[in-house]
Amino acid sequence: MASKDVGSVEVLELGGTARKRRRRSGIQGSGGRRAALFLWPCAILLVLYIVYPIAFSLGRSLFDASGEEFLGLGNYIEAFSDERTLVAFRNNLVWLLVAPTLVTALGLLFAVLTERVSWATAFRFVLFMPMAISLFASGVIFRLVYDEDPDLGVANAAVVTAHDMFASSAEFPGAEPRDEAGMAATGDGGYRSAELVRPGEVVAIPMVGLRDSEMPEHAQQATILEPTVGELRGYLWRDVGSSGQDGAVGASEAGLPGVTVHAVRDGQVVASTTTADDGTFVFPGLADGGYTIRLPAENFAEPFRGLTWLGPGLVTPVIISAWIWIMTGFAMTFIAAGLSAIPREALEAARVDGATEGQVFRRVTVPLLSPVLLVVFVTLAINVLKVFELVYVVAPGSSQAEANVLALQMWQVSFGAGGDQGMGSALVVILLLLVVPAMLFNIRRFRKARSG
C-alpha cells in the first residue's frame, strides 16, 4: 500500500512508462519494429554521450599519462597505494556515513513541522532557497562564514563574542619583558624574576611587544623609583628602541598600568598588587628575605581569536555542514511531497486509538514514508559521492589535501597536476563503481513501486 502511494510521485511515472512500452513491444512483433524506429535517436544519443565515454574512460584508465604505454591495472594499484587518494577515500566514507543521514533526518523534521504551520509554503520556500544557489557560490559564502579573522568570518565572530562574555581579555596581550631584563618565562605565559629580590630593592622591568596605539589612555610617563627601606618596589614600562635606550626609561615611554604583580616566597603568593598609572608597584611591609616577583599569565594572554575552522582538523566537518545547509531543502521538498500522499485515515485512526503525536510520528508517519526516505537517502548518497565544488572552493590551499575527496582528486590528477588522464580515468571508473550500487538500488525501487 505504501509503495503504491509513492508511485504517484512524478519521477516514478517515467520509469513505469518505459517499462510498459517494453512489455508491449515484447508482445507485438511488428509494433516492436516501429518502437525501434522511434527509439533509435534516443539510443544514438545514449551511446554517444553515455556508453562511449564510459567505455573510453575504461580503456584510457589502462594506459599511462601519455596514453601510449599500456599499464594494465597499474593505475588502479597506484590509486589504492597513493596517500592522497587514500585520504580522499577516507573522506568520501566520512561524507557518506554522515551527510545523507543528517540531511534526510533534517528534511523529515522540517517536512513534518512545516506541514503543521499556516505559513508552510513560505517556510519551505526559504528552506529550499539554498538549492537555487550554485554549489560554487555557496562554497564562496561558506569560505567567508568560516574565515579565521573574527572581523570577517561570522562563525568566529559568534564564537569570540560568546567567549568574551565569560572571560575578560587581558590588558596587554602579547607583551613580554625584554630578554635582558632578568625575567624568566614561567611556562604558562607568565614571567618571574630570575633572581631573588629583597625589600629595599627596586625591580625595573622593561616591557616590549606593545604597540603605542594599544596603550590605555590613563597610562602615564613611567617613573623611576628610588629604593626605600622596608619596601620592595618596582616599575614596568613600555620600552621601545625608538624613544631612548633599550632597557632604560626614555623620555616618552609610558608605564604599564593595571598589571597584576605577585610577590612569591617558597612557592606561595605572599602579596599581590597592581601597578599604578605610571607603571609602579610597591610591596610595603614584607618580612625580610628573598622574594620572587611574578607577573602572572592573565596579564598577557592573547585575546581569543576563535577556531581555525578551515584548518586540517575541522575542514571536512565544516564543508559537510555547508552541504547540509544546501541540501536540506531538497530532502524536505521530496519528503513533504511523500507526506501529502499519506492517507489521512491512517493518522486519524491512530489518533482515535489514543496515540500521542510522538507515537503517530514514529509508528505511523515514518513507516509509511520509509520508501520516500529511502529514495531521498540514496539520491543524496549518490550526490555525496561526487561532491566536488564545495571542497574545491571552501578548503584553503593549505588544508585541501586533508579535505580531499575522490572527485576533486580525479580532477587534480587529470587536469591540475601534469595531466595524468590515465590515472584520472581510473579514479573516475572507481567513482562510477561506487555509485552504481546506489543507482541500481534506486532503479529497482522504481520498478518495484510500479509493479508492486
Binding site: 599519462a65 607583551a175 591540475g416
Partner: protein, 432 residues
C-alpha cells in the same frame, strides 16, 4: 614615422662604419610594408595587462601596416594552444608563461626557430639566463618579452616610521628590523601561506642565496636530492625567518591567509603587519585593493643578502614564440625583441623587461625603476622560479608536492620530515 627614419639612417651609418653592436637602435628598421597582413597573438594576459600589450601591438601595426589581433586564453592557454596545434591552426605568435611550455612545443616540432636577425638581437641585448630559457636543444625559440622580479620585500612606511626602522639590506639587519618591529607590538611579516606558491618563492630566494646558482640549477633538475645538506640549511634559515612570533597570526593563521589577504594585512586600512615578501606584482594588488599609494605608503627593498649569500633574484617571465614562419610573424618577433616594444608597456607601468637595452628612464616611477635596477644588479645570480622549472605535479599543484610539503613544514618546523617528503614527491614527479 620620423623616429623610424632617424633609426634607419643610424643603421645605415653604422653599417657603413662596420659597427655591428647596435642592439638598442636595431629592430624592425628594414620593416617591410606588411599592409593587409593579418596576425594572431595568443597569451594569458587579460584586463589591464591585455590593454597594455594591445598598445604594444598597435605600435607594430602603425609601423608595418599589418593588423594584429590578440586573444586571451586565460589560464587554459596550454590546452587552447595544444588543441589548435592539433587542428593545424595555431596562432602566429603566443606568449608562454613557463619555460616548460617552450620546451614542450619546441620538441613537438610546433615552433619556428627565431630568425637570425632576432637571434642576434637577443644575443646582444638579453642576459644569458633569458637566452638559455628560450633555447631548446641548441636552437633558440623564445624571446622573453616580460619578466617578473620575485625578490622584493614590500613594507608599510608608516609602520616602519612608528618603530623607527629603515629597510634592511642584509639578513642580519632584517632580523634586527623584525625584532624592533615586534618589540613595538607590530607583527613584522604577513605571509600568504594558504597559497603554496608564496612559500615556494620564499624557499627559492633563500636557497638561491645560501646554496648559490649552480646548486639551484642542480636542484631544479633534480640532479641532487632534496635531502641534500644545502636544502636542509635553506629550510633552517627559512624556519628562522618565518618564526611563529614574527608572523601576523602565527604559523596557524599564516596557513589560513591567502596571498591577497597577506598584502591587505600590510597595506589595508588597519594594517596588522609591516612587511610582505613577494614579486613585483604586489604593487598591482596594493593599487587595486587598498588605499595605499605606491612610493608613499608602500615602498620596497630587495630580498636582503643572507649570511654567506650573494645579491640574487628569482624571476618569472613570459616568452614570445612563433608558430608560423611567414615574414609578418618574423617581423613581429623582431619587434617584440626590441627595446622600443618593451618601453611602450614599461611607460604604462606594471611591467619589467629582461632586455638590458630598455631605458630605465622609461619606467614611470622610482619604484618600478628600482625593481628593474635590482634585476640588473643581480647579474648572473638571477634564476627562474624553480617551481616553474620542475614538473607541475611537483611544483605547482594545490595540496601536493612543494606547495603542500612547505606548508606542512611551516606548520611543524620539522626539517628532516620536510626534506624527506620533498625528495619522495620530487622523485615521483621526475620519474614520470
Amino acid at each position: 614615422m620620423r623616429m623610424r627614419k632617424v633609426s634607419r639612417l643610424l643603421v645605415a651609418v653604422l653599417a657603413v662604419t662596420g659597427v655591428a653592436a647596435c642592439g638598442s637602435a636595431g629592430g624592425g628598421d628594414d620593416a617591410a610594408d606588411l599592409g593587409g597582413q593579418k596576425l594572431e597573438v595568443a597569451g594569458y594576459w587579460s584586463g589591464e595587462e591585455q590593454k597594455a600589450f594591445e598598445e604594444v601591438l598597435a605600435q607594430f601595426e602603425d609601423e608595418t601596416g599589418a593588423s594584429v589581433n590578440y586573444t586571451s586564453a586565460g589560464d587554459d592557454l596550454p590546452t587552447v594552444l595544444q588543441t589548435r596545434i592539433d587542428g593545424s591552426t595555431p596562432p602566429n605568435v603566443a606568449l608562454l608563461p613557463q619555460p616548460g611550455l617552450v620546451q614542450q612545443f619546441a620538441r613537438a616540432g610546433a615552433l619556428q626557430p627565431l630568425p637570425e636577425a632576432t637571434r642576434n638581437t637577443v644575443e646582444q641585448d638579453y642576459p644569458e639566463l633569458w637566452r638559455e630559457l628560450g633555447t631548446v636543444d641548441g636552437e633558440m625559440y623564445g624571446v622573453y618579452f616580460k619578466a617578473a622580479n620575485k625578490s622584493t620585500f614590500w613594507y608599510n612606511t608608516g609602520l616602519f616610521d612608528e618603530a623607527g626602522v629603515s629597510p634592511p639590506s642584509t639578513g642580519e639587519e632584517l632580523a634586527g628590523v623584525m625584532k624592533t618591529l615586534a618589540d613595538n607590538g607590530i607583527a613584522p611579516l604577513s605571509v600568504g601561506g594558504a597559497d603554496g606558491w608564496v612559500l615556494t618563492d620564499w624557499f627559492e630566494n633563500i636557497y638561491l642565496q645560501t646554496a648559490g646558482p649552480e646548486m639551484y640549477d642542480k636542484l631544479s633538475r633534480h640532479e641532487i636530492p632534496w635531502t641534500h645538506p644545502s636544502v636542509r640549511e635553506a629550510l633552517e634559515k627559512m624556519r628562522e625567518l618565518l618564526a611563529k612570533d614574527r608572523l601576523a597570526g602565527g604559523t596557524g593563521g599564516t596557513l589560513q591567509t591567502d596571498f591577497p589577504t597577506s598584502v591587505n594585512n600590510v597595506f589595508g586600512d588597519d594594517p596588522s603587519a609591516a612587511m610582505v615578501y613577494e614579486g613585483d606584482f604586489v604593487g598591482g594588488v596594493i593599487t587595486s585593493s587598498t588605499a595605499s599609494v605606491l612610493g608613499e605608503d608602500a615602498q620596497l627593498f630587495p630580498f636582503p643578502v643572507l649570511e654567506g649569500g650573494q645579491r640574487s633574484a628569482v624571476v618569472g617571465g613570459d616568452a614570445a614564440v612563433a608558430f608560423t614562419g611567414d615574414a609578418a610573424t618574423k617581423e613581429l618577433m623582431q619587434f617584440l625583441a626590441s627595446p622600443r616594444a618593451a618601453e611602450i608597456w614599461a611607460e604604462r607601468g606594471g611591467f619589467l623587461s629582461p632586455n638590458e637595452q630598455v631605458n630605465l628612464e622609461s619606467y614611470p616611477d622610482e619604484l618600478s625603476r628600482s625593481i628593474a635596477q635590482q634585476l640588473r644588479e643581480a647579474g648572473g645570480n638571477v634564476r627562474f622560479d624553480m617551481s616553474d622549472l620542475v614538473p607541475t605535479s611537483f611544483g605547482a599543484t594545490v595540496g601536493a608536492g612543494m606547495w603542500q610539503d612547505l606548508q606542512d613544514f611551516l606548520g611543524s618546523g620539522d626539517v628532516r620530515k620536510a626534506t624527506a617528503d620533498l625528495e619522495t614527491h620530487a622523485a615521483e614527479a621526475f620519474e614520470k
